[in-house]
Amino acid sequence: MKNFIKEFTKGIIRENPTFVLVLGLCPTLAVSVSVVNGIGMGIAATFVLLGSSLIVSLVRDFIPDKIRIPCYIVIIATFVTIAELCMKAYSPVLDRALGIYVPLIVVNCIVLGRAEAFACKNNFRSSFCDGLGMGVGFTLALILISAIREFLGSGRILGHTLIKGFEPVFVFGMPSGALLVIGLLLGFFNLLKNRKT
């Protein structure tokens, strides 16, 4: 049990996919304009991660080494398409906001990376915890980045104005602002890590 908790929590801080592994930055940069987008993207990616990690670990003895990558991609693409269809059916507004970045989860390095680095070597219970931890870590990172960007870029969080009279800095709503925020956060997390050691 302790082992599973460890697998779960490592994705949130020690091996956070965005700030420590630095994977899947493209969708992170693109969708982190508002907190709602960040949460939606995080949930979709978590669902895909969970599903693909679980299935990959279950069929890992059955898939020959030489064709493992195409097999993983088919499994991941299936989950992504299911997530996309569900999103279209139940939350068309979110679907439009995230646009092309939902289908692009297929090539998100976090998902394929976890299948390749973890799920194909571990049993399904550890893989499940690992996928869940990574997904939650990714979601939290997205929420952090998008909260900073939404607040600085449009003066609001989740659509609510926090400080009256705050003049928004437009650049944070644009791609350059995304790079700035992520760069500074990465530096900050590295500083914390170096302090500890």
């Binding site: 097999c71 088919v74 269809l85 139940y90 437009f170 709503g173 644009m174």
Partner: protein, 176 residues
Amino acid sequence: MKEMFRYGFILALICTIAAGLLAAANALTRPKIFAQAQLEERAGLKEVMPAAAGFKAVKPEADKEILYYKAFDSQDKLIGFVFKASGKGYSSMVETLVGVFLDDKISAIKVISQNETPGLGVRITENKFTGQFSNRNSLDLSGVQVIAGATISSRAIINSVMKKAREIKELIKNEK
């Protein structure tokens, strides 16, 4: 050689299972997606033409795309039209739904799809801009004030609405 067939078989098996799952997911969500799209369309039409009680889509042929909508009031009298205009903005195609009365006056417009610069071009969706269109002649929108910092996005809407309004007017004239 034997290996090759084994790999092919395994990959085919995985793909077959995946295809089956996707077919099931599609069958489950399809009616829901269709209903959502229709609901959205209805809500959009109602928003740009609040005076109308019913709408009828006009298509050149049954399986072609919808050209425009006819708007009827509660006595089934034709009171105007609703059409979709789209123009190239700064970083995306800006699509607007426009409601016009029979005398070419605009009832209201609504931006239904855009991907303009956050904080700048995105402001074309705000009421401060779109509200200016109401009660203006759809064929002459020169009086609409563009947003400072979003000139290209604003112009995209103004020009595409005027262009489409003329096209629709031509079309309706030919029909009569």
